[in-house]
Symmetry: C2
Amino acid sequence: MKKILVLGSTGSIGQQTLQVIADNPDLFQLTGLVCNNNVQKLEEQINRLKPKFVGINQKGVSLNQELYQEIKFFYQEAGILEMVKSLDYDLLVMAIVGAAGLKPTLAAINRGKDVALATKEVMVLAGELIQRNKQKAKIFPIDSEHSAIWQSMRSGTKSEIEKVILTCSGGPFRSTPIEKFSEITVEQALHHPNWKMGRRITIDSATLMNKGLEVIEAKWLFDISESQIEVVVHPQSILHSAVIFQDGSMIGQMGVTDMKVPIQYALTYPQRIKNNYPRLSLTDIRKLEFEAPDTNKFPCLRLAYEVLKSGGSLPTVLNAADEIAIELFLKRKIVFNDIPILIEKVINKHQAISSPDLEEILKVDSWARKTALDCANI
Amino acid sequence: MKKILVLGSTGSIGQQTLQVIADNPDLFQLTGLVCNNNVQKLEEQINRLKPKFVGINQKGVSLNQELYQEIKFFYQEAGILEMVKSLDYDLLVMAIVGAAGLKPTLAAINRGKDVALATKEVMVLAGELIQRNKQKAKIFPIDSEHSAIWQSMRSGTKSEIEKVILTCSGGPFRSTPIEKFSEITVEQALHHPNWKMGRRITIDSATLMNKGLEVIEAKWLFDISESQIEVVVHPQSILHSAVIFQDGSMIGQMGVTDMKVPIQYALTYPQRIKNNYPRLSLTDIRKLEFEAPDTNKFPCLRLAYEVLKSGGSLPTVLNAADEIAIELFLKRKIVFNDIPILIEKVINKHQAISSPDLEEILKVDSWARKTALDCANI
């Protein structure tokens, strides 16, 4: 039995993780749940899955201990860190949105605990730091693209990898002419063609910043250079990503758009366990298309490569400024086109720090958020 | 240094194998060459590569020993078998066309020598026999489809395989209406859209018998059931084949249509060695299409599944009758449509033998060839 601690259980990835755990009661045991503030969903999960340990991140949010006498509750950042540091588990599923995933991930790998990672910000902000610290622990990607790369890599050795092909749906505005970009509404941007996801990642998919963050994540997850990572637009999202080995063979992972498959793989690795999730039929799909991304239309992708090349604290700035830009866009305070402009302004104001530690990263993160708000003049 | 003995060196696969060997002089040493009767090409290869041992299969064909005093020559079936049984080599490359590959392959694996196999008839005629005999030796596929399956299988274990997707270009008549099939000329049938190959395999690609033979080959190479093998038509021939694992992940190998890549992989396995062969660019290809094969138009594919299900000596009958039918078609004695009809006639006349030994297989092979000629009334 693998004991699993799920951080971010009420989000999309968290819920699907609980489904995979429930589908395999002989393999997995749920150690505990952590959510941010969705207590309604949390109570439903507690009643269904009976965890012994539960964490709630947001200050002031709690459940009635009287109703859950068998549960030990933990609260806010410090409580959740205590869970990660003290509980008995084999695998941490990290599915908290944003920079909040950073400290718990570091705490887990410092204990030598493996982490199944859905929170891309962890690698974006602290990829280098994680690499330095993960000696005893392993990081298993949950993102469908990175899972695809990870699965494809098994067909050769790490040193035989020539290139990684990171596929990208192209988002809802792949075919929209650049002249129309300033008219893009929040509602249009929130409508992703292939995946149903959270709000930030959906907007990031529309600007291709999501793919940029994934390029950064791939670099640190797989210890490859950014020049080895090529983004290819693939509107059907069937080829989830691929690896080209130095002998010229490309190995790719394909599947339907069901996150339970990469989640299950991260939970059972290196085994592949039978399930009854829907199968891919190439003859039903009929057509897979590919094209190069247009970085004139989607400057966020270019910015991601640029900060990755410079390295140090710059990816943290990119991520933080992007989060603020999206918030402002969702509040209709800036337009779609302003998102990359605002991010680039903040990047240009930053004095990069090389090999930042956790405190420096968090300071830069705060600085970039504040600076983004300043730059937007709001 | 891996010492390699190449059987069928003057054919398309043989020539490309010699290219791969020449491209990697630090890795490979050519032990010897065997050809059927193309002495012009053979002399060119001898002068270029200086092998110590050379075999010529066809009776009455020889080179002037005076000119090649440092070479030991072997002649005809018995001589070639002696080479396989007595020479010092690490890997046999089997690229002889047709049933003639059978005895040398068995001789090699009985010595515990690994075989890189391009001759699909070996597995079609004697798959079960080979499986029983190969305890000490391994068979490495060279066929692009089987190499793709073999490479994709590395992403899981054998018992985790749910299904194999064997892709098929569809041949030159994929879009030809069935009503026009009786008018197909030899010239049209010899023109394959994606691969330049020998005459028999080109016609087999036009009838889809080639894919049927590959289904049989896949069953024995990978020890899977025919019900686990699905043929999918893919006109671009970029996805060379794929494996669906029981967790729902499909892993596939992609590449340009260059046989040197699977040849090199078979020669260097499990390593992947750097080369400068052309790379696949998905953004140049732009589109991959898939459809189900039409077994009404291509009954040869149905026949292959049927003989595989029945097993025993029936695949030998299928292969031999197909070879004769193609010869008759190339000589314009029967029309394109007659190929599957003639094969089915011979199959229906056969009294199947279960688990045939080598002598029985060769007897059935002769019987089927004779019967095919009888059935064609020529």
